[in-house]
Symmetry: C2
Subunit: 207 residues, 2 copies
DNA sequence: CCATCTTTGTCAATACTTGCACAAAAGCCT
DNA sequence: AGGCTTTTGTGCAAGTATTGACAAAGATGG
């Protein structure tokens, strides 16, 4: 398949899932896998996995399957997580604390390096060992460190304003935990992490 | 449109988003909206919104648009969140604490009613005011209260085992924060809340 | 009360996504 | 060495999803 055509975003969205499955297999000591095994693990068809991968190159060997370590490297490079992106978190609440303490990004290409809050009584305190900085300094820090990725964990009422500040400071990807719809320019990627919406989606099928 | 054909899951997945947007408009005091306004807010086409809604009935008035309060009620009923589902959380870590403290499900159809952990030193303690129960009691409590919805916030290594226990006890919807692929029977809904995967998806577009 | 404007609900066309099926490639076994 | 088995990568067909367009319905204003 041509290497230069535009890859559908839906395919990009599945790559992290494949990567996670590969990590799991690797941790179990396996060295080789097949599209069939991956498909069974993930509940998707083997053809889909082969087709998704074929957008980026040929990573398998016929008759053999895929070398897990090699495929991990390739997918990491494609997703640009073969490096460590520095991430800023805005909003020093319980959620920020959970993210810092549990560090779900460890080994996945991201590291939290700065934490901001606008509440005067929180500024200067520490949260899970990380100093809470004044939101007023946010643009300066983001620009100086060249940060591109932000996590938004502020109340819904402030989310849009903070998002605007982040965008103005040069942030290019925002993961928002605020339960409100945001508006950002088209060159900025935005994802919502909305647990309530996920539960609601499942509730439809209950009973 | 026929009321009884199967509704695509992708449509179901957008309903919570519409609901969230309506909540926002309502909180701003607006009483009427249109598919065009909603579409602009959410970055989708107005035709898509009209088509999605048409799977379930006719909720608007030509020339006028939609009554926000009425549409909220209808969508809540469709998603079955016009009631309050009791939710069990397994894994009394920082993430559970954040969920209990920030209560992102308030007014959205879900309420956390029980919290479990398997670590002996945590059992009996309180987390954000909620008692930590022994995982050994989990099946009993789930069955007695007839719980259908669970949130999984345990380490990846234990996630599959806990999921199996939940399913055996009668849970029908699982929201997993564990960064591992799970396997559940087809009648159980499963969603992953994987912030690392969301960031990785956006990273592809960086630079 | 009529003309004009707005907006819905839906059909049909377009665009996108998935899955089937198979040739080709590669290892394995005798 | 050759036949057998496995599994990839991909062309094509089938299946889904999105969008454009418009008749019909309803509001508004003179």
């Amino acid at each position: 398949m041509a290497r230069f055509e535009k890859v559908p975003d839906i395919v990009i969205g599945r790559l992290p899932v494949y990567l996670r499955a590969l990590t799991r297999l690797a941790s179990e000591g396996q060295e080789i896998t097949s599209s069939q095994q991956l498909g069974k693990m993930l509940g998707v068809s083997s053809a889909q996995i082969r087709k998704d991968l074929s957008y980026f190159g040929e990573f398998g060997k016929q008759g053999m399957g895929y070398n897990i370590a090699h495929l991990q490297e390739q997918l990491s490079a494609i997703l640009k997580v073969d490096r460590e992106w520095e991430v800023v978190v805005v909003g020093a609440g319980p959620l920020a604390e959970a993210l810092i303490r549990e560090d779900p990004f460890a080994g996945k290409g991201f590291r939290i390096v700065a934490l901001f809050d606008s509440r005067p009584e929180r500024i200067g305190q520490r949260l899970a060992g990380m100093e809470i900085l004044d939101s007023a300094q946010l643009p300066e820090v983001v620009r100086q460190r060249g940060l591109k990725v932000a996590i938004l964990a502020v109340p819904a009422a402030e989310a849009q304003q903070v998002a605007d500040t982040l965008v103005a400071a040069g942030i290019k990807a925002i993961l928002s935990y605020a339960s409100t719809t945001l508006s950002v320019p088209p060159e900025v990627r935005l994802q919502y992490n909305d647990a309530a919406a996920q539960l609601q989606r499942m509730a439809y099928y209950l009973q």
